[in-house]
Symmetry: C2
Subunit: 159 residues, 2 copies
């Protein structure tokens, strides 16, 4: 069970976008240069964020990506879901239906104790992720590394 590394890329890219000049779109190439990532593949991840409504993209010269809304409105769960998809990690195959005492007309995705146990854990996971917004992460970085916003803006301003 491994998560796509695109999640890490997406989180850092979103943070960098919070520090970019307001209204300015940032190209995938510049975001990739920030962290030495492959441009085309990062572009693919950013596309997923656009589809999820987290970013807005524009083509052509002076085009690029920018945040679609306030960082306080976007949770870490939103970003993770945008990259990983909405389906849960544990997908109950309802094997209990075939087992002793199984009933064909019961939805074992809800009734099976194993599924419930796993679901409860995933709910807790989601709750933690939903409790943090991009603004929270942004604030944490700014208090620990006050120069990061300025350095990011400088890097993004480079041709």
């Amino acid at each position: 069970m491994q998560m796509s590394e695109g999640v890490e890329w997406a989180l850092h890219s979103c943070l960098s976008l919070t520090w970019a000049e307001q209204g300015e779109a940032v190209t995938a190439a510049k975001l990739a240069a920030l962290y030495e990532l492959p441009t085309a593949y990062l572009n693919k991840q950013l596309q997923a964020l656009v589809r999820a409504g987290i970013l807005i993209s524009s083509s052509g010269p002076r085009g690029g990506f920018k945040l679609a809304c306030d960082p306080g409105q976007v949770t870490v769960l939103d970003v993770v879901t945008a990259i990983e998809g909405r389906q849960e990690a544990f997908r109950c195959q309802e094997i209990a239906r075939k087992g002793p005492g199984g009933r064909a007309n019961v939805n074992y995705r809800e009734a099976c104790v194993a599924s419930q146990a796993m679901r409860r854990a995933e709910m807790a996971w989601r709750r933690e992720l939903a409790a943090q917004t991009l603004a929270d992460l942004k604030g944490q970085v700014e208090s620990r590394q006050p120069r990061t916003p300025e350095l990011t803006r400088q890097q993004l301003a480079k041709p």
Copy 2:
């Protein structure tokens, strides 16, 4: 991010083993027949449980698998970890090290805010899984489907 379906198989197999005759080893073939699973592949999952110390295996006639200890001592997390491995789903690649304000001598698996956010969620996930033991699941099934233990024993007794 999808979890191996072996987790579901392992949980149900362990539950069935709690209902098997005390001291009797159950073969992978019989466990597979309970839920109509491919025998060889289920065997592979059970091997992982043996390596994790959850089950004990014995070869030859009257061989098979049985629980290594009391069901109350085995948590759902133990089972999941045995199948999925110990590494976390989110593996920080420390791309922040290359980013603005990055320091080469900092462990970003600990310091990066993205990594911390993800880690906090995974900790909550693990905590939920560790809070439930096989005995808990066993009790839940027995209170909802009182006939399941008996039916399981009957199925396992069949040649």
